[in-house]
């Protein structure tokens, strides 16, 4: 049985993870033949890229097509699945052969896993980011020209390129405030600490819903997913949907007035107390340590 891997580029990390997943799938369910990797050549147009995948399936009759669970990977594979009227297992973490095979996939942004039977002629699977570690060797993917599709739309321009400064996605320290911060003005101390640590400011959904911060600052399932060295959660209770956005952090420091808050179950370090007193104390101590 043959396996195709849709890659966004030869060096793209999530695509390399998809390649590793495909190799494991090929080994588990048959001859272990090396999967064939491809990229799609042409300006990005979701429906046309989906048609390209559908055409390749028509021409080569693979048993499975594997793609990264990136925004584009999920989008292209959803179009391919819709065109072919096949099921799609999005954000998959594991595969078990069988008739039909069983997939494990993430729900609730990773707070829950689902095992499901995938009843398909061609298995269409996207791989959840970081579900497997990319393993050598890489490949030189074949560049397949994009097909046409009557409904295809392509972007006409790119706007709003980010304005410099440390972005949430890339920051090595994120200082996040929740409802416990109490007001938009209360974020001054969060900004001060983030500034001292050359980090970025984040927040919870309670904060964006109250209009204290823009949604671009929101960390979580429906906000930004961050992976800093250190995540400092101030006045945040630790709801599953918030944790879905910061579980990639190497270390988590929680500052919360309630010693029983569930955030402490996810934290490496904790301070119990009023953030309005704790944070100025930390800022002062940092200045002292730096001899300023």
């Amino acid at each position: 049985m043959s396996v195709l891997v849709l890659m966004e580029g030869a060096d793209d990390e999530l695509s390399l993870q998809a390649l590793t997943f495909a190799r494991e799938l090929a080994q588990a369910s048959g001859d272990g033949a090396e999967p064939s990797a491809f990229t799609i050549d042409g300006p990005y147009a979701p429906a046309a890229f989906g048609q390209t995948v559908a055409d390749l399936i028509g021409a080569r009759a693979p048993r499975a097509v594997i793609a990264p669970g990136s925004e584009r990977g999920n989008e292209v594979m959803a179009h391919a699945a819709a065109i072919l009227d096949e099921p799609l297992s999005a954000n998959t973490t594991a595969f078990e052969p069988g008739d039909p095979p069983t997939v494990t996939r993430v729900r609730w942004g990773g707070s829950l896993l689902e095992q499901a039977l995938l009843r398909a002629r061609t298995l269409l699977i996207t791989v959840a980011p970081h579900a497997v570690a990319a393993q050598a060797p890489g490949v030189m993917p074949e560049a397949v020209p994009a097909s046409g599709h009557a409904l295809a739309l392509a972007p006409t321009e790119r706007v709003g390129a980010s304005s410099g400064g440390v972005t949430l996605e890339e920051a090595s320290v994120v200082v996040s405030g929740g409802r416990g911060v109490g007001s938009a003005e209360g974020f001054a101390i969060i900004e001060e600490l983030a500034g001292l640590l050359h980090g970025a400011v984040g927040c919870s959904r309670a904060v964006t819903s109250a209009g204290w911060r823009p949604h671009t600052d929101q960390v979580g399932q429906t906000g930004t997913k961050v992976a800093p060295e250190l995540y400092i959660a101030c006045g945040i209770s630790g709801a599953t949907q918030h944790m879905a956005g910061c579980k990639g952090a190497k270390k988590l420091l929680a500052i919360n007035a309630d010693g029983e808050a569930s955030i402490f179950a996810h934290a490496d370090y904790g301070v119990v107390g009023d953030l309005h007193a704790v944070l100025p104390g930390i800022a002062a101590e940092i200045r002292k340590a730096r001899g300023a």
Partner: protein
């Protein structure tokens, strides 16, 4: 303009998810229900578009009888009418969900100019119902959208991508899947809630086709097994915090 917005009832999980004994659902004994924030934004966007362009908003869900609660909530923030595809209590897979939505939209004597979705549902997160509906209806589709501008029979949609936003210019009718952040949904007012009780709701019971992505069981991901180290109480903890910052090399 006639705008549809599709929403899905999901449990409002808190700090800890607990599963039912058969591991086929989240235990909801102590939980309320809601819709995904993306979908709440879809309804708000539909209402704002109709406030500017005129027309009406239909909110649609496929879900158990109790989902009427979510339809009334969405009518309280401005949707004009609701379509309830009453499911059998079983969960429907994305293909079945899309097929039921397509059939409902096709049978509407007033075809929509715009069909809005959330980018992914809060629970299953299959990222595909919107795309499937678009292909079956033969309509263009844009996903991951953070801004919509309607003008001259077209929808200018901004899709969030790393490093900016890609602009798609879609001819109407079109399917658009939006993300939280596109707007700040209003809170329902008391008169809004009262009006919602009297707004029209059309219920029907579609047949569920066999699942092709069939959920077997749910499980909680393995715990990181973290043991928190409490550095102290109140501002007295500051020196211990700074020591950790220095250990982690972020000072």
């Amino acid at each position: 303009m006639h705008v549809y917005a599709c929403v899905k009832r999901v449990p409002m999980t808190g700090g800890q998810i607990t599963l039912t004994d058969d591991q086929r659902a989240i235990s909801t004994r102590h939980l309320g229900f809601t819709v995904s924030p993306h979908e709440e934004c879809a309804v708000e966007e539909a209402v704002q578009i109709v406030e500017r362009e005129g027309g009406s908003v239909t909110v649609l869900t496929l879900g158990p009888a109790e989902s009427e609660e979510q339809l009334r909530d969405m009518m309280a923030i401005g949707a004009d009418q609701a379509v309830h595809l009453v499911s059998d209590g079983e969960e429907w897979d994305p293909q079945a969900t899309a097929a039921a939505i397509v059939a409902a939209i096709r049978s509407d004597p007033q075809p929509p100019d715009l069909i809005l979705f959330g980018n992914e549902s809060a629970d299953a997160g299959n990222y595909q119902v919107a795309v499937r509906v678009a292909h079956q209806l033969g309509l263009p589709c844009v996903t991951g959208v953070k801004a919509i501008n309607i003008s001259g029979g077209r929808a200018r949609c901004e899709q969030e991508v790393p490093g900016g936003r890609d602009v798609y210019d879609a001819p109407l009718p079109a399917v658009v899947a939006v993300k939280e952040g596109i707007n700040l949904p209003r809170y329902p007012s008391v008169p809004g809630r009262l009006r919602a009780k009297r707004k029209p709701l059309a219920a029907s019971q579609p047949q569920r086709p066999p699942a092709r992505l069939e959920m077997l069981r749910l499980e909680l991901p393995p715990e990181a097994g973290k043991q928190v180290r409490i550095l102290g109480q109140g501002p007295d903890a500051a020196p211990a915090v700074v020591e950790i910052l220095s250990e982690l090399g972020v000072l």
